[in-house]
């Protein structure tokens, strides 16, 4: 235990001198990096605009209020599309994610040397590309519309779901698996009775969690033309119809809060 000597009395310290010095050095480097980043951001910023920002924000707020409530009649169909993009996208993603997760988990993969890296690469590439970029890509390939949005959501979610699932699979209790194996169960029976019941709560939780995220993301996919309420948002933004923008933002906010409530309730019921 590191102890320092303060005028004859021994005082307990958390760290020894060298540890403390190393820590200070780390902090110094960290702060220096941050300051450099901030400097670069500051250089690229037109500060006149920033000082003017409160006035502009107030101006925008004044234009946007009150929201144009009558516009609501045109929003029901896009809202339904948004819901479908999120739900069907999650469904597709889950269907694709389950096999990937089993291939990626160390304890269930058929080959840790060949199959696992491929599965991990699928997971990483799906996760590292934002759904908006997937949508951009799909819109330029298969054209604008709900299908592009749906596929973008699905492609983005595969990695997320598969990652959380394979981590859940790796953390299962091996005793149960062993017990089922000991009864003479086949590989698939072991999976169905030893592994699946253990990951089922995690699976349901991940699905609902991702659905919640997907609903949020599908609200903006329309910005690049992939269907949903984002299309209306974009067209309203393009013509500077701020009251419509305000209404759409309120609707999106409500939808997100509702989805969060639903997902919290469902997860509470499952886990």
């Amino acid at each position: 235990m590191p102890i320092s000597d303060v005028s004859g009395r021994k005082v307990w310290q958390l760290r020894s001198r060298n540890e403390q010095l190393a820590r200070w050095a780390m902090w110094l480097v960290g702060v220096a990096i941050f300051m450099w980043c901030w400097q670069r951001i500051s250089e690229a910023t037109t500060w006149v605009f920033v000082w003017d920002a409160p006035r502009i924000a107030a101006d925008m707020g004044a234009r946007a209020w009150p929201p144009r409530w009558s516009y609501m009649s045109e929003l029901w169909v896009p809202l339904w599309d948004t819901l479908n993009i999120a739900t069907l996208g999650t469904l597709l993603a889950i269907i694709a994610a389950v096999p990937v997760a089993f291939l990626a988990a160390r304890n269930t993969t058929p080959s840790a040397l060949f199959v696992r890296p491929v599965a991990l690469f699928i997971i990483v590439s799906s996760r590292s590309i934002n759904s908006l970029i997937w949508a951009l890509l799909l819109v330029s390939i298969i054209g604008p519309g709900v299908l592009s949005g749906l596929l973008a959501i699905a492609l983005r979610s595969i990695g997320f779901c598969a990652k959380l699932l394979y981590e859940a699979i790796e953390e299962i209790d091996p005793k149960q698996v062993e017990a089922v194996t000991a009864t003479g169960a086949s590989r698939w029976q072991v999976m169905a009775y030893g592994i699946v019941p253990q990951i089922l709560p995690a699976f349901a939780g991940v699905t609902v969690f991702r659905w919640d995220i997907n609903l949020r993301e599908s609200t903006v996919l329309g910005l690049v033309g992939a269907g949903g309420i984002g299309l209306q948002l974009k067209s309203s933004l393009d013509v500077l119809a701020w009251p419509q923008v305000a209404l759409i933002l309120i609707i999106i906010l409500l939808a997100v809060l509702l989805s969060e409530w639903v997902s919290a309730r469902v997860r509470g019921a499952i886990i």
């Binding site: 920033v50 934002n130 908006l132 951009l136 054209g143 299908l147 933004l237």
Partner: protein, 271 residues
Amino acid sequence: MTDTALQARIGRKWRKPPFVKNAALRWSLFIVAAIYLVLAVGSLEVNWERVSEGLIRGWRFIAAFLNPDFTTRGEDIRDGLIESGIITIASTVVGILISVPIGLGAARNIAPLPVYLVCRGIIALSRALNEIIVAILLVAIFGFGPLAGFITLSFATIGFLSKLLAEDIEDMSRVQAEAVRATGASWLQWINYGVQPQVLPRLIGLSMYRLDINFRESAVLGLVGAGGIGATLNTAFDRYEFDTAAAILLIIILTVMALEYASGIIRARVQ
């Protein structure tokens, strides 16, 4: 299990217990899901002609992935990447700094009710607003450039980190915290020695994870003019320069992989 219940079961074949215990609820859930699926799939409007036409372009894109072009727009890609990195680092640091006090305030077991409600409100607001929407508004207010992206991501980081930190604090063991309090520690000392050691490993892990998320998000902020590699990517898609787009996507994937690997090492060391 009582003796009679056991007697009644002996000699009968074991069946897997159903996921939802109440049979009526189970079946009505199934039926609702089926009806929804039919309606949702029915309302999808897909232009199959356009899709099949697009498949050719899809192949071109996949071919571009095998032959990415890093050099033609090398300068733009480099500048975009550096800007993305700067936004990522700065926003993660600021986000962590702000989310620690908010996370403390949002934990019901250490914060008084009014503080709790305010902090939970901030978290809910930050989580409900999609990054892209925040970025659009901030670009409109602050003008184009990395500052809007930086503020957007800092704000998004707060919602993510504070919420998880608060949940972690709520789950912590009371025993340790109480023991520290019993020594007559002040509030700060109590947090520092009773609470912080319990949540720090997870906080560090989550911060690394958020760094990773922020990098991915910074890649899309450019689509709405908030700085970073997204602008370069968007230009590449607009010009149908799939090989440059593929190069950028590959760089993003590799960076995310590297970040994930690094965060794995760091998390393993702190936990």
